[in-house]
Amino acid sequence: MDVLIIGLLLGGTYALMAMGLQLQYGVARIMNLASGETLVCGAFAAVWLFTAYKLGPLLALVGIVPLAFVANWAIYRFMMLPLVRRAKSQGQLEVDAILATFGLSFVAIGVLLAMFGGEFLAYSYLAEPFRIFGQPYALNRIAAFLCSAALCAGLYVWLHHTRAGLTLRAVSVNPSAAGLVGINVMRTSALAFALGGAVSASGGALLSMYLTFDASLGVIFTLKALVIVIMGGVGDIRGAIVASFILGLTETAVATYIDPGLTLAAAYILFIVILLVRPEGLFGRRPS
């Protein structure tokens, strides 16, 4: 029961991080290997705002989200767009984007190290028990889950019930066809990339309420987000949410019953199962 609830709470927060990458990879077609670093930046910003200004992480989101949006828009505009223009083919773009974001992730780690040093950072916020079915759970986990669920729901409604969301989904399905019906693909991609970064960073700020972070953890979160996106099916929001819960549950089960140090192994096991059984993802379509 414990495992189930803690796993679901964790999965709910992972959903946010996965949606961020989903937007960046599914719509903007940039495989962002620095996605985990964006998340860690969000987490560090939340820690810093809390320890320096006593600002709660939920309030800090108001500042972190726009900042991450602008920063990621700039990354797309000034670093990814030249690669998009230079690439002769989709494959070439994929390789270039992977290399560039891989380099970017090390720059981000370097900046974080220079600003905050190399130790683990954490703070105590809403660390009081909350009872579900008579069992106590940390309130911060529940708050993070609810906030993440609200953001995911908002994003879902925005994607499916507004014109801007429709253009994003159109580019996700087929960029060249979207261009033919008068959608500005470059601008939509930039929007999706920036939004994805903002969502990832907010995921980091929420996770920082109950996880400890250090500057080098980004790669683990990048990998988890990628596994979720692949498991759910690229470009599929429902799939990403279901996959987030599966990963959250598996990870919590592994941490509880085997060893807390093996969480990445849990992600890899899911990854291998997906690759062997259903490489197009739970809800993905097989390429024709």
Binding site: M31, L33, M79, P82, G91, E94, V95, D96, I98, L99, A100, F102, G103, L104, S105, F106, V107, A108, I109, G110, V111, L113, A114, S216, V219, I220, T222, L223, L226, V227, I230, D259, G261, L262, T263, L264, A265, A267, Y268, F271, I272, L275, L276, P279
Partner: protein, 333 residues
């Protein structure tokens, strides 16, 4: 490329024979390479201190970057897993020394690395796309976690002592020997059907499949060779750190440095990575001495500069310049 066992051995023998027929030009370049290796082997005669230790680093990265290029160069599948295999090799030596002699452990490392690479390759390389890159991204971290867990279960400490007296000189010659082997293997693959298949895969995988190439097999074979060399390198240099611990063996920087050096040199020529390894090792020696706190940042910045400004590496730059000069000459003449 499929067929019975007999057919296979015959075609293999034919390939070997065909590959051993050398043109005049190839004989000359082979001789030149042998001379360069001979000259490099003389380094310990002149200096056994600082420069020899840099020589060891250069030889190590030459093996790692060149073997990385064997697979990632022609196929464009970026492998970010060098540290995983390097660490496996290191830990096999660290953990196995009480039971087996050092040379046997190096062989064990080669086989373990190859088997592990085969598993990873079979899971990810049968499908095209970015799955492989993603899988390799966290691989070093995964192996580190599993090793730490296994040590925890067995009740051993996380660090291991590698106390065998191996001089820098011996290590340098060993690595140089492995480098020569990498070049030989790479040169041989480049001339074989396998190398041809890989270049087609790199250009267009769909075309490769349609022309009857077993793309999965070609990719897995090359990834296995490449990773096995990384494991051997890890095993060989383990005595350099008399105390092996996870942060050294599975350092994510290692994978990153190898990719940087290979890209800086150029990945479409066998000798390309060497052109990147030598200046970068020297630069890195300088940077880590002068700015020890900013190494990560500077490493990332260097990498971005290379990706954006010299995407085809120094070798590509040289080739482009030479081609332009020739064209200008022929225009004038």
């Amino acid at each position: 490329m499929s067929g019975g066992g007999d057919h296979h051995t015959v075609s293999f023998v034919q390939t070997v024979r065909a590959a051993l027929v050398l043109s005049r030009r190839e004989q000359v370049s082979l001789l030149a390479v042998a001379l360069i290796f001979g000259a490099a082997a003389l380094l310990p005669v002149f200096n056994t201190g600082y420069w020899l230790s840099i020589g060891v680093s250069i030889a190590m990265f030459t093996v790692l970057a060149t073997s990385w290029t064997l697979f990632s160069g022609p196929t464009n599948y970026i492998a970010l897993s060098t540290a995983a295999f390097f660490g496996i090799g290191m830990y096999i030596v660290g953990g196995g020394l009480p039971y087996l002699p050092f040379p046997a452990l190096v062989a064990v490392a080669a086989i373990t690395g190859a088997l592990f690479a085969a598993v990873v390759g079979l899971a990810t390389l049968r499908i095209s796309g970015v799955y492989f890159v993603i899988f390799t991204l966290g691989l070093a971290e995964l192996v580190r976690q599993v090793v730490a867990w296994a040590q925890h279960v067995m009740g051993t400490s996380s660090g291991l002592y590698v106390l065998i007296g191996m001089s820098d000189q011996a290590m340098y010659w060993l690595l140089l020997g492995v480098a020569a082997l990498v070049y030989l293997v790479g040169w041989f693959i480049g001339r074989s059907r396998l190398g041809f298949a890989l270049r087609i895969i790199g250009n267009d995988e769909v075309v490769a499949v349609h022309s009857g190439i077993n793309t999965a097999r070609a990719k897995v074979v090359l990834f296995v060779i490449s990773s096995s060399f990384a494991a051997v390198t890890g095993a060989l240099v383990a005595p350099r750190w008399s105390y092996v611990e996870p942060s050294i063996a599975f350092s994510p920087f290692l994978s990153f440095e190898v990719v940087i050096m290979a890209l800086l040199g150029g990945v479409h020529r066998l000798w390309g990575p060497l052109v990147g390894v030598i200046p970068f090792t020297l630069l890195w020696e300088f940077i880590s001495a002068k700015f020890p706190a900013q190494t990560t940042l500077l490493l990332g910045a260097c990498f971005l500069l290379i990706v954006y400004f010299i995407p085809r590496g120094v070798v590509g730059l040289i080739e482009d310049t030479v081609r332009q000069l020739r064209r200008r000459k022929s225009d004038n003449g």
